[in-house]
């Protein structure tokens, strides 16, 4: 599935929940369902700056594609980073770099996806793009 298709699918799912509380509950479910994150990867090297909670993002390259493992010590942030990781995993670095989807606008996740440059979600996306840019070069 392309990045665009995955975003569309999540967008439709999130639209089923009209209020922020239900959206947060959906993210919490995603966090609880996410694959285990090895504790030894909870290190500064993989830490995403700018989040209210601690967030870790670990990129892996396999057959010219990128895969992301992620974790957070807060549930809602973990749900969000799980969702973002799944959108950009199994994709070619150049496709990630070239993707110009504005998740902030698409997902309407209220305060957790406000388009502030110091916002946690902004930093997660920036980190993913930076990893991809390095590999695309």
């Amino acid at each position: 599935m392309s990045i665009q298709e995955k975003v569309e699918e999540y967008k439709q799912t999130l639209a089923l929940f009209p209020n922020p509380q239900e959206k947060y509950q959906y993210l919490i479910e995603q966090a609880k369902k996410s694959e285990d994150f090895p504790t030894e990867l909870r290190i500064d090297e993989f830490k995403v700056n700018g989040c209210q909670s601690q967030v870790w993002l670990v990129p892996e390259e396999k057959d010219n594609k990128l895969y992301f493992k992620s974790d957070s010590d807060a549930l809602i942030a973990k749900g969000l980073v799980t969702l973002i990781s799944s959108i950009y995993s199994d994709e070619a670095p150049k496709d990630i770099v070239n993707s110009e989807i504005d998740l902030m606008e698409e997902f309407e996740l209220g305060v957790i996806l406000s388009p502030a440059r110091r916002n946690g979600a902004f930093s997660m996306l920036k980190t993913i793009k930076e990893f991809s840019q390095k590999l695309a070069n």
Partner: protein, 406 residues
């Protein structure tokens, strides 16, 4: 007596709904809401009399200047300063501490000592750290006990002939701690020739302050935490101390005479106020001072004490809730909290869905959070427009949030 239901009508923000719920604003420790009188006064200046202050020889400028300078008199009365010239406008407490640290420390000798406490806001740590590094000074931190109180024995043991600055919070933005300012002052004055600075960011909005009675040397005040606009605050200092301090910022308005190779300074307060001051914000702060003075700070203080008592008992009933709050008879209505196994950021996001505004993080008091082994807490603070119902709503929303997050 403050009747919150009547008073709330003065604050237009409370007409808003958040996520379909009434706004329960419990983040006044970060910034207070503004009454119509402040908003209208600032609009009035821009609408009817806007002109740069000082030296404008026309009606608008003289009206604005008069209104701006009148705010110094209001603040003088509000904190019972000796003179209006002791009221120095600054952007807020942060700028106030940066000014004091830079100006005071430049005249100290290497090895001189500064005393802060373990529970200071970063605004009262970083400027001193920067100055200490520049002038080779030493910073000592007074212990804060397990019950979140200042350890006076430790303070006494730290005071010595090298101590030149003691700068301690007047009301903690974490634990509500209200250290005995008079007691600190007499210890400092008995044992040292240091200046004693009080961080009044949380103190001045909530309690009646009389700087002459307290005997302190400097006080930093934040305007936006006491119903005023952002970008304006006050450094109060004793006249004789201010007269001996050098300015930190140079520019227009702070000079007497300027030559190509040198300049002389204007008398206080203007020698510390370089450039066009935020005069509209200052006039807004004047309206805020009027509002609080009309309420009477004795009533504001009693309201804070009563609400603190109610909130402390109410929140104490929640299982698993750790409250970083002093047990002292008197404290500010400020409660930093954590829940075992639930992240503060999750709690605050969930509370927001109930219309409850609290803050999550280290509240600019990171070293003390580290001491408590906490990454972050969520914090509820009450002010004049909060009542028991707000803490009932917080209580219920917290119980619901805990269910949703476990």
């Amino acid at each position: 007596m403050i009747k919150v239901s009547d008073l709330k009508k003065d604050f237009p923000i409370f007409d808003r709904e958040i996520n379909g719920k009434r706004l329960t604003y419990l983040d006044s420790g970060a910034t207070s809401q503004k009454p119509n009188s402040v908003i209208n006064e600032m609009t009035n200046v821009y609408t009817n009399m806007n002109a740069n202050v000082h030296r404008g020889t026309y009606v608008l400028s003289s009206e604005t200047t008069a209104k701006y300078e009148e705010v110094r008199d209001k603040l003088k009365n509000f904190i019972n300063a000796y003179s209006s010239d002791e009221i120095i406008f600054a952007k807020g407490c942060t700028e106030g501490f940066n000014f004091l640290a830079n100006s005071i420390c430049k005249d100290l000798n290497a090895g001189d000592e500064i005393i802060l406490s373990e529970i200071e806001h970063h605004a009262n740590i970083i400027p001193w750290q920067m100055a200490a590094a520049k002038y080779n000074l030493k910073i000592n931190y007074v212990n804060v006990s397990e019950s979140f109180e200042l350890d006076f024995d430790h303070l006494e043991s730290l005071l010595n002939k090298n101590t030149k600055v003691v700068s301690i919070v007047g009301e903690s933005n974490i634990s509500g701690m209200l250290p005995d300012i008079k007691k600190i002052n007499s210890l400092v004055k008995d044992k040292t020739d240091a200046v004693y600075i009080v961080d009044g960011a949380q103190l001045v909005p909530h309690r009646k302050i009389d700087v002459q009675d307290l005997g302190i040397d400097f006080l930093c005040v934040s305007g936006h935490k006491m119903l005023g606009p952002t970008g304006i605050g006050v450094v109060w200092g004793r006249k004789e101390l201010l007269e001996n301090l050098d300015p930190v910022y140079g520019g227009g308005d702070m000079i007497e005479e300027v030559f190509y190779d040198t300049a002389t300074w204007a008398p206080i307060p203007h020698k510390f106020e370089a450039g066009t001051p935020p005069y509209v914000e200052a006039i807004g702060l004047g309206a805020a001072v009027d509002y609080l003075s009309n309420l009477d700070m004795n009533n504001v203080q009693k309201h804070s004490d009563d609400l603190r008592e109610y909130a402390k008992n109410k929140l104490g009933n929640i299982d698993g809730l750790n409250i970083i709050h002093t047990n002292s008879k008197l404290a500010g209505c400020t409660f930093a909290m954590s829940l075992d196994g639930i992240h503060a950021a999750d709690v605050s996001l969930m509370l927001d869905t109930f219309g409850v505004a609290v803050r999550a993080g280290h509240h600019c008091v990171q070293p003390f959070h580290r001491k408590l082994n906490l990454d972050s807490t969520f914090r509820a603070t009450g002010y004049i427009y909060n009542d028991e119902e707000d803490f009932d709503i917080l209580y219920n929303a917290l119980e619901e949030s805990i269910k949703l997050l476990t």
